[in-house]
C-alpha cells in the first residue's frame, strides 16, 4: 500500500476513534461506580449541540477579538457542562427515584434527540445548521506527499486531550483513593456505607464526570469535526462506545485499543466508499454496527462487569 493511502487511513481512524474513546471513558466512569449509562448517545448529542450553539452565538462577540478560537473553547466548555448536567439528571433519577437505569437512559436519549431538534428549529428555523467558519486548529500535523497531493494527519487538541484523559482515568481508577471508592461503589456499595462513606456522592460525582466526557465527545464532533450540527448526528456512536467499553473490559487502556479498532473499521468503510468499490454504500455503512455485534457476542459472556452494576442502595 502506498504510504499516503496508509497515512490517510490512519488519520481517518484517529478522527473516528476519538469520540468512541471519550464515550467509552464516559461509560467506564459510570459503570465502575455501579450506574448503567446507556444515555451516552444522548449526552454526546446534547454536548454537540450545546458546543455548536455556544460557539456560533459567540462567533462575533467582541471579547474574543484577538483570541481567534476563544468562542470554540467556550463551546467545548458548554458541551462538557451540558453533558454533566444530563449525567446528574440520570444519577438523580436512578438513585433518588430508583428508576430502572435502562429506562432512564432511554428517556434521556429521546429527550436529547427531541430537545436538540426542537431548539435547532427554534433558533435557526431549519433542520440543519450553517457551518462554522473554522474548527479547532491542529496542534501539530504530519504531512506526506501522495500522488493526489499532500496527505496528512492533523493532531487536534481534543484528540490529544482524549488520550490524556484515558491515562488520567487509568491512574485515578487504580491508584487514587477516589478510584478505590469508585470501585467499591461498583462492586459492593455496602462496603462504603458501612464505613460511613457515601455511595450517593460517589455515584453523583462519577455520573457528572461520565456526562462531561460524553459531552466532550459531542464537542469533538461539531467543533473539531464538521463544524456544524445536524439532527441525530451521533447516529449510534454512543452505543458503539458502550461496545468499546465492554471490549476493553471496563478498563481505560484496553478501551483505547478497542476504540482504535472500531475507528479503523469505520475509516475502512469510508475509505472503500471513496475508492469507488462496487459495493453499495448502505452495505459499507453497516460495518461499524456489525462489528459492534461481533464484539458483543465474542466478549459479553467472558468479560466481568462490576458486580453491583445497576443496583440501587
Amino acid at each position: 500500500m502506498e504510504a499516503a493511502v496508509f497515512i490517510g487511513l490512519l488519520a481517518a481512524m484517529l478522527r473516528l476513534a476519538t469520540p468512541l474513546l471519550l464515550g467509552s471513558l464516559s461509560g467506564i466512569w459510570a459503570e465502575r461506580s455501579g450506574v448503567v449509562n446507556i444515555a451516552i448517545e444522548g449526552m454526546m448529542l446534547t454536548g454537540a449541540f450545546a458546543g455548536y450553539v455556544t460557539a456560533e452565538r459567540l462567533l462575533d462577540a467582541e471579547i474574543f477579538d484577538g483570541i481567534g478560537t476563544g468562542h470554540l473553547w467556550l463551546g467545548v466548555l458548554a458541551a462538557v457542562v451540558a453533558g454533566a448536567v444530563l449525567g446528574l439528571v440520570h444519577a438523580f433519577w436512578t438513585q433518588r427515584f430508583r428508576t430502572d437505569q435502562i429506562v432512564s437512559g432511554t428517556a434521556l436519549n429521546i429527550l436529547a434527540l427531541g430537545v436538540t431538534a426542537y431548539a435547532l428549529r427554534l433558533i435557526y428555523d431549519v433542520g440543519g445548521s450553517t457551518k462554522l467558519p473554522e474548527t479547532l486548529p491542529a496542534l501539530f500535523s504530519w504531512t506526506v506527499e501522495g500522488k493526489d497531493g499532500p496527505v496528512g494527519i492533523a493532531f487536534t487538541p481534543l484528540m490529544v486531550v482524549s488520550v490524556l484523559l484515558c491515562l488520567v482515568t487509568h491512574v485515578v481508577l487504580f491508584r487514587t483513593p477516589w478510584g478505590m471508592r469508585t470501585q467499591a461503589s461498583g462492586e459492593h456499595p455496602l462496603t462504603l456505607s458501612s464505613l460511613g462513606l457515601s455511595v450517593l456522592k460517589t455515584r453523583y460525582a462519577n455520573m457528572a464526570i461520565s456526562g462531561g466526557l460524553a459531552g466532550l465527545a459531542g464537542a469533538f464532533l461539531t467543533l473539531e469535526g464538521i463544524g456544524q450540527f445536524n439532527e441525530g448526528m451521533t447516529s449510534g456512536k454512543g452505543f458503539i462506545a458502550l461496545a468499546v467499553m465492554i471490549f476493553g473490559r471496563w478498563r481505560p487502556l484496553p478501551a483505547l485499543a478497542a476504540a482504535c479498532l472500531f475507528g479503523l473499521a469505520d475509516a475502512l468503510q469510508i475509505f472503500l466508499q471513496t475508492l469507488g468499490v462496487q459495493v453499495p454504500a448502505e452495505w459499507l455503512q453497516m460495518l461499524p454496527y456489525l462489528l459492534t455485534l461481533v464484539a458483543l457476542m465474542g466478549l459479553m459472556g467472558r468479560a466481568r462487569p462490576p458486580a453491583a452494576l445497576g443496583q440501587v442502595q
Binding site: 433519577w93 427515584f97 437505569q101 434521556l108 428549529r121 447516529s235 465492554i246 445497576g310
Partner: protein, 373 residues
C-alpha cells in the same frame, strides 16, 4: 383494580410532564394557549382529525404491545423500530408479489408475512442473547441501524418500483386493509390492534406460557429453579415481541402506506411505543388509552406547527418527559412498597446477601421494569 390505580398515578405523572412541556413552550416565547388549542383541534377538532388520531393509534398500540411483551419477559426490546420496518418490508413484498390470492386471504397473508419478518429480525438478537449473553438493548439498537440501511438499499436498488422516486411498487388492491370510515383513512387495522391487546392479556394471565413469561421477567434464576426453560422463554418472547412489531408495520403498510419508501416509513412509531408501553404499565389494556394519548399528540402536532408555528419536535420532548415522570413515580411507589415490606419483616431480617442486579452484561432477564431486586 391495581392496574387502574397505577394508571391514575400515571395520569398525574403525564399531567406533570405536559405542564413541563407547557413551560418549555412558554420559555420559547410561544403563546401556550394558542399552541395547545391547535394541538387539541388537530387531534379531535374535526371528524377527519379524529380519524387521523385513530389511524395513528393503530401502529402505536401494536408496537407498544410488542414492547410490553418484551418487558414482561424482562427484555428491553428497543429494536421495535427496526422490526416495524422489516414488517413493512415483508408485507409489501407479499402484497405485490402474490397478486392472484382472493381478497380476504391476501390481506391475512400480508399481515402474517410482516409478522414473520419482524419475528425473524428479532430472533437474531434473541439468539445472540441466549447463545452469547449479548445484551438486547445494544444489539437491538444495532439491528435498527442495520434495518434502516438494508431497507434503504433494497428500496433504492432491487425493489425499486416504477418511476424515479425510490420506493417499491404499490401492493395490490386485495392486499389492503378495508377502510372503516368513508372519506377518511381509518382502516380495519384498529380492530386488529384491539384484538391483539385482548389476546396478549389472555396469553399473559390465563395460559401457562404467560406465567412462564412473567416469571422469567421477574426472577430468571427462580424460574430456572422451578423448571421453566428460561432460555427458550427469552428467545420466544423476544421473537414474538418482534412479531408484534412486524405486525404493526404490516398493518401500517396494508392500511395506510401501501408501498415502502426509502426512509421515513417507521416514522418513530417504534421509539414512541416504548413511552406508550411504560405509560400503560406494560399492561395490554392500560396501553390502549396510552396509545390514544400519544397518537393524539402526534396528529395534533402538525396543526400546532402550522397554526402556532411550534416545531413538532416538541412531541419527542413531551414523550421523554412522560417516560421520566412516569418512571420516577413508579420508582417512588416501589420504594414505598419496599419500605413497607421491610418494616413488616423487620422482625426477621432475611439472611440472604443482596441479590445481583440488572447489569448491562448480566446474562438473562436483566432489564428490570418491575423486576425483583
Amino acid at each position: 383494580m391495581k392496574v387502574f390505580l397505577s394508571l391514575a398515578w400515571s395520569l398525574l405523572a403525564v399531567l406533570a410532564a405536559l405542564l413541563t412541556g407547557g413551560v418549555v413552550l412558554a420559555l420559547s416565547g410561544y403563546d401556550v394557549g394558542e399552541a395547545l388549542g391547535a394541538l387539541f383541534k388537530g387531534a379531535f377538532g374535526t371528524p377527519n382529525a379524529l380519524a387521523e388520531t385513530l389511524v395513528n393509534t393503530t401502529p402505536l398500540l401494536l408496537a407498544a404491545l410488542a414492547v410490553a411483551l418484551g418487558l414482561r419477559a424482562g427484555l428491553f426490546n428497543i429494536g421495535v423500530e427496526g422490526q416495524f420496518l422489516m414488517g413493512g418490508l415483508g408485507a409489501v413484498v407479499a402484497g405485490y408479489a402474490l397478486p392472484s390470492l382472493p381478497w380476504g386471504l391476501h390481506v391475512i397473508v400480508v399481515l402474517v408475512a410482516g409478522m414473520l419478518a419482524g419475528a425473524g429480525w428479532a430472533a437474531i438478537p434473541a439468539w445472540m442473547k441466549a447463545r452469547f449473553g449479548a445484551h438486547e438493548v445494544i444489539t437491538t439498537i444495532m439491528f435498527n441501524y442495520i434495518a434502516f440501511r438494508l431497507v434503504g438499499w433494497l428500496v433504492r436498488v432491487p425493489l425499486h418500483g416504477p418511476g424515479s422516486i425510490p420506493q417499491t411498487r404499490y401492493v395490490v388492491e386485495g392486499a389492503r386493509l378495508p377502510v372503516l370510515w368513508a372519506d377518511t383513512r381509518l382502516h380495519a387495522g384498529l380492530i386488529v390492534a384491539l384484538a391483539v391487546a385482548a389476546g396478549l392479556w389472555w396469553l399473559l394471565w390465563h395460559t401457562p406460557w404467560g406465567v412462564a413469561i412473567r416469571a422469567v421477567g421477574l426472577n430468571a434464576e427462580a424460574s430456572e429453579y422451578a423448571g421453566i426453560r428460561v432460555v427458550r422463554t427469552v428467545v420466544t418472547s423476544l421473537a414474538l415481541s418482534g412479531g408484534l412489531a412486524g405486525l404493526a408495520g404490516a398493518v401500517q403498510l396494508a392500511g395506510v402506506d401501501h408501498r415502502l419508501v426509502e426512509e421515513g416509513f417507521s416514522a418513530g412509531y417504534g421509539y414512541d411505543s416504548i413511552a406508550v408501553s411504560l405509560l400503560g404499565a406494560n399492561h395490554p389494556f392500560a396501553i390502549v388509552p396510552a396509545a390514544l394519548l400519544f397518537a393524539s399528540l402526534r396528529s395534533g402536532a402538525s396543526l400546532m406547527q402550522i397554526e402556532a408555528d411550534v416545531s413538532s419536535q416538541i412531541i419527542s420532548v413531551l414523550q421523554a418527559l412522560v417516560i421520566l415522570f412516569v418512571a420516577a413515580e413508579a420508582g417512588l411507589r416501589r420504594e414505598r412498597e419496599l419500605k413497607a415490606a421491610r418494616k413488616a419483616t423487620a422482625a426477621a431480617p432475611p439472611a440472604a446477601p443482596p441479590s445481583s442486579g440488572a447489569g448491562l452484561a448480566a446474562s438473562a432477564g436483566s432489564t428490570g421494569q418491575g423486576q425483583e431486586a
